[in-house]
């Protein structure tokens, strides 16, 4: 079947695909500037991710792997592609969907519905862990108490732990997240803008937290956001369209987006328009930074209260929770020098595995 057949309207531009030379091109790849047809697109898109998985030894046969699923585009496409590749190339993985319910009325309800549909469509077991059951507080309740100003601190700290705890409950060996090349380039820039050179040299790692409870990896590290977004859209005309037209949910988080990150994002998108390779080049720059810092890594220990890894007596989540429960919600996010020092140490507690997870709130991705 030819591309475009059955369409009421004619495709514009008659250029042929530079890969197969037979079908009409449907998109321009940002990575290579090639003009390719949709069939070749699916092939190269999926093959590249397969290569990344194989070349970086992301998984071992027999492993149990949780996919951090937010109902958004990245994790939805990741769940679909990973289960396809697992079957096609016989990775021998047991895949699970893992979602966090922050307790944001209207927002999470809808996106969790999407994840539940994905559970049925892809046949992957789903585990949902909620802030309410883990911490006794929903995000709605936290925001009611502390207002919109500092809630990002809670989101970031709580979500990270919630994923780790969910992964522990599922007894998985690894957690994969949908962070894409654009996200990683953005994080490289943010670490430069914040002067955080120690994190800069680590934030591009494809696998992090190998010393922590559950290693995390990012199979979309080299995958452009444009291609992830277009992937479910391009298939509408085909008979198998029904299967490839992925169901994903998208809307802005109703709680304050991170403005600074927003600027970095926009800057990346502006650069991409002028020179699409910029995204890969920024990642490469991050990878090539090898700066010997004399920062002493804090000793890795466990939180005395909940047992989560922490370099402090109490982990960050427990400090924040203590504040909430004692009616002192600013505890742990205050401005005093002592607390800032604490926080500074605290952000290093996981040996840099945290950097990319700072994508938060604005998107509610992990």
């Amino acid at each position: 079947m030819m591309a475009g057949e059955g369409s009421a309207a004619k495709p514009r531009g008659g250029r042929l695909c530079t890969i197969c030379n037979g079908r009409r091109a449907a998109l321009k790849r940002p990575k290579t500037l090639e003009q390719i047809c949709r069939e070749c697109f699916y092939e190269v898109f999926e093959d590249e991710i397969h290569r990344v998985i194989v070349d970086n030894h992301l998984f071992k046969r027999g492993e149990r792997v949780a996919i951090g699923a937010s109902g958004g585009k990245d994790s939805t496409v990741l769940a679909y592609v990973l289960s396809e590749l697992n079957n096609r190339h016989d990775y021998g993985l047991d895949l699970f969907l893992l979602s966090v319910d922050e307790g944001i009325t209207g927002y999470r309800d809808d996106s969790l519905e999407t994840v539940k549909r994905n559970e049925i469509q892809y046949g992957l077991p789903l585990k949902v862990v909620s802030y309410k059951e883990l911490y006794g507080w929903t995000m709605d309740e936290i925001v009611k108490l502390i207002g919109l100003k500092n809630n990002c601190t809670f989101c970031g700290v709580f979500r990270r732990q919630a994923l780790d705890r969910g992964a522990t409950l599922l007894k998985v060996d690894k957690l994969v997240t949908g962070h894409n090349a654009d996200d990683i380039a953005e994080t490289v820039l943010l670490n430069i803008l914040r002067g955080d050179i120690a994190r800069l040299s680590r934030c591009t790692s494809i696998t992090t937290g190998e010393d922590g409870p559950i290693p995390r990896c990012k199979p979309f590290k080299y995958t452009y956001e444009k291609e992830i977004v277009i992937y479910p859209y391009l298939n509408m005309l085909f008979t198998y369209a029904y299967f490839k037209k992925l169901d994903y949910f998208s809307t802005e988080c109703i709680y304050s987006p991170n403005a600074y990150r927003g600027f970095a994002r926009e800057f990346i998108k502006d650069l991409e328009r002028i020179r699409p390779r910029a995204i890969l080049d920024i990642i490469q720059s991050g990878e090539d930074f090898r700066i010997s810092t004399f920062t002493k890594m804090p000793e890795q220990g466990n939180c005395e209260r909940c047992g989560y890894i922490s370099s402090q007596k109490w982990c960050k989540a427990c400090v924040l929770l203590e504040g909430l429960n004692r009616g002192l919600p600013k505890m742990g996010i205050g401005r005093t020098r002592v607390l800032d020092n604490e926080r500074d140490k605290d952000t290093r507690q996981t040996n840099g595995t945290k950097s990319i997870e700072s994508k938060q709130c604005g998107t509610l991705d992990f």
Partner: protein, 99 residues
């Protein structure tokens, strides 16, 4: 001429949360053809109810907004200069939120 416009990835929130719009758009009187450039300004005037800066930047879409014309990346058809025809389907998808 009749066009089908689809907004996705959160852009539908800018037009009363309606994803698919069937619209009638005519070329400007002095021009014979309807181009994407004209369609964008028509959409801005007639469909976008709030935060137009999420959709447009300068005279084109904001970086990070993908445009498909009849399921084809508009980067292949000349972007703003693409000439539209009756029954064309134009899809706008924001990549900027929703992980």
């Amino acid at each position: 001429m009749q066009l089908t416009l689809e907004f996705g990835g959160g852009l539908e929130l800018l037009c009363n949360s309606v994803k698919i719009h069937t619209v009638d758009v005519e070329p400007k009187a002095e021009e014979k053809k309807l181009t994407m450039k004209h369609l964008l300004s028509w959409v801005h005037t007639n469909l976008i109810k709030e935060r137009p800066e999420m959709f447009l930047k300068g005279d084109t879409v904001r970086p990070g907004v993908l445009v498909l014309i009849n399921d084809c990346d508009w980067e292949l058809s000349g972007q703003l200069d693409t000439v539209l025809e009756d029954k064309d389907v134009v899809v706008f998808i924001s990549t900027l939120h929703g992980g």
